[in-house]
């Protein structure tokens, strides 16, 4: 029995293929102009990696912002449920999943069985999402993946007071004009980012164990700041945190064809 999950987000598309308890492939690509195309391309990549064809997939569940437009998916499930399910499968003790994606941020509470209990989402404001970091990386003139490591070398992180990404960008530009050290800038940015995520998390409450999923989980600076602010140590995932939604999709697909009990 081979199942797949396909997660088409705002910036990236991910696919996970599973057989039994084994992940055969997990792939990530940048999105194409149309969600169908993103889904096809990322699935093709994952299939190639697993030495399979689309016909070998018994069931596929799609998720993410483009989930209703995936022709080869037999069902679609919200990314909130999928992230919860994926994280819970890897770490059964997880109770809080903080998913920070390209254009939104969700804090998801699950029970001991991995079932969704409560969640909160920000998809209206770029602050506290991956987009904030993108805007800031561009302003600093560094790659997105450089911000985290740079921030770890800061001596005096700057304080960014604006909530709004646009106003925060102006603050950073002013700091650059004052020739502030870029490590201190990077640390100010990751802290500001963590601050927004924290305020969202506080609104649903944080119970351990906590995991961070989504692309921003790869930013060590944001993760460290957030851990400090929430006074928790997040559990590290053994698979790429960005494919958690797709993994959850594959797990749901598995249940669809072999229901529990």
């Amino acid at each position: 029995m081979i199942v797949a999950g396909c997660d088409v987000g705002s910036l990236t598309a991910k696919a996970v293929i599973m057989r039994g308890e084994e992940i055969l492939a997990a792939e990530i690509i940048g999105v194409r102009p149309k969600p169908e195309q993103s889904a096809r391309d990322v699935m093709e990549r994952a299939l190639e990696k697993a030495h399979l064809t689309l016909k070998d997939i018994d069931y596929c569940v799609s998720t993410g912002y483009g989930r209703e437009k995936i022709p080869f998916a037999r069902d679609n499930i919200s990314e909130i449920s999928c992230h919860g399910r994926g994280a819970h499968w890897l770490i059964p003790s997880v109770r809080t999943v903080i998913d920070v994606g390209g254009q939104d941020c969700k804090v998801i509470r699950v029970d001991a069985t991995g079932k969704l209990q409560n969640f909160i989402m920000n998809d209206k404001c770029a602050a506290g999402t991956g987009r904030f970091l993108e805007v800031m990386a561009k302003t600093l003139g560094v790659r997105l993946d450089e911000i985290g490591p740079l921030s770890l070398m800061a001596k005096n992180p700057v304080g960014i007071t604006s909530m709004c990404s646009i106003y925060a960008q102006t603050e950073v530009v002013a700091f650059i004009a004052q020739e502030v050290d870029r490590h201190d800038l990077a640390a100010g940015i990751t802290r500001a980012m963590a601050e927004r995520v924290k305020s969202l998390a506080m609104r649903v409450g944080v119970e351990e164990d906590v995991v961070i999923t989504g692309g921003v989980a790869k930013n060590i600076g944001v993760v460290k700041s957030l851990e400090g602010m929430l006074r928790v140590t997040t559990k590290k995932l053994t698979v790429d945190p960005q494919v958690m939604g797709a993994l959850g999709g594959a797990l749901f697909a598995r249940e669809k064809i072999a229901p529990k009990g």
Partner: protein, 253 residues
């Protein structure tokens, strides 16, 4: 002194005799100096001939030549009252903040609502969007008037609206319809702030965004009332209010 522009107004005997606007930039003290120099040379005056100066605005406390600092709210309402004595509500949409002010007798401030936390709803939104659309800021108003079917802009956030507008352009949508949609969407944000403070006529609009005819017209639609414009550059109304207050310090008015 605003976040984006710094304005100096010189008044004599109850009339504006000169004004000058410069960009604030990152050196506010220099901006204040150059705005003052510009206004003085226009008026043909020297610094010593200015009786008193009141500063206002975000950077108003950095103005070394001012005798006193007063917050924007009384300056904006006094300035609006100077031109429109029947004013009861001032809507000021500046670079980094939007204010709705309820005005009482003789231009007194009765209450206000402020948005300075989010760029959507303020002038910065238009800077970002004009750049994305590759249109001059000053053309946003006139171009929007050519639109027959304004598009709906779903995003509230400036960053997300920028992406939305770029994808609308890529989809081949008409740029004038996009601009009209952008103006309408911001006008609706401004309108909710005004509703919060209470809509009382006459409504006067000030600040740089008042120069965007598309926003003014949309705001009139959302509020269901006409908006009075001042017979001067709407960006200098705060500075006019400040100079009226300076006159008071000297026992005038």
């Amino acid at each position: 002194m605003g976040s984006l522009t710094t304005k100096v107004v010189i008044m004599k005997d109850g009339a504006v005799i000169a004004h000058h606007i410069v960009e604030t930039g990152f050196k506010p003290d220099l901006a204040a100096e150059s705005a003052l120099e510009g206004a003085l040379s226009q008026a043909g005056l020297s610094r010593g001939e200015v009786g008193y100066c009141v500063s206002t605005g975000d950077g108003g406390k950095n103005v070394s030549f001012a005798g006193k600092y007063v917050s924007q709210l009384p300056c904006l309402s006094k300035g609006s009252y100077f031109f429109v004595p029947t004013v009861r509500t001032v809507v000021d949409v500046g670079g980094n903040a939007t204010r709705a002010i309820s005005v009482g007798k003789e231009g007194r401030v009765l209450g206000y609502r402020l948005n300075d936390k989010c760029a959507a709803g303020g002038g910065r939104f238009f800077d970002v969007l004009a750049e994305a659309l590759e249109v001059k800021l000053d053309d946003l108003g006139p171009l929007s008037q050519q639109s027959k079917s304004p598009l709906e802009i779903a995003s509230q956030c400036t960053v997300f609206a920028e992406s939305e507008v770029i994808s609308l352009l890529n989809d081949g949508k008409d740029v004038v319809d996009i601009i009209a949609g952008v103006n309408r969407s911001i006008a609706s944000r401004i309108a909710s702030l005004v509703r919060n403070v209470g809509i009382k006529e006459d409504v006067v609009m000030t600040g740089g965004v008042a120069r965007n005819i598309g926003v003014v017209k949309s705001l009139e639609e959302w509020l269901g009332v006409g908006i009075k414009m001042v017979p001067a550059d709407p960006r200098i109304v705060g500075a006019i209010g400040a100079s009226l207050l300076a006159g008071k310090e000297l026992g005038e008015g």
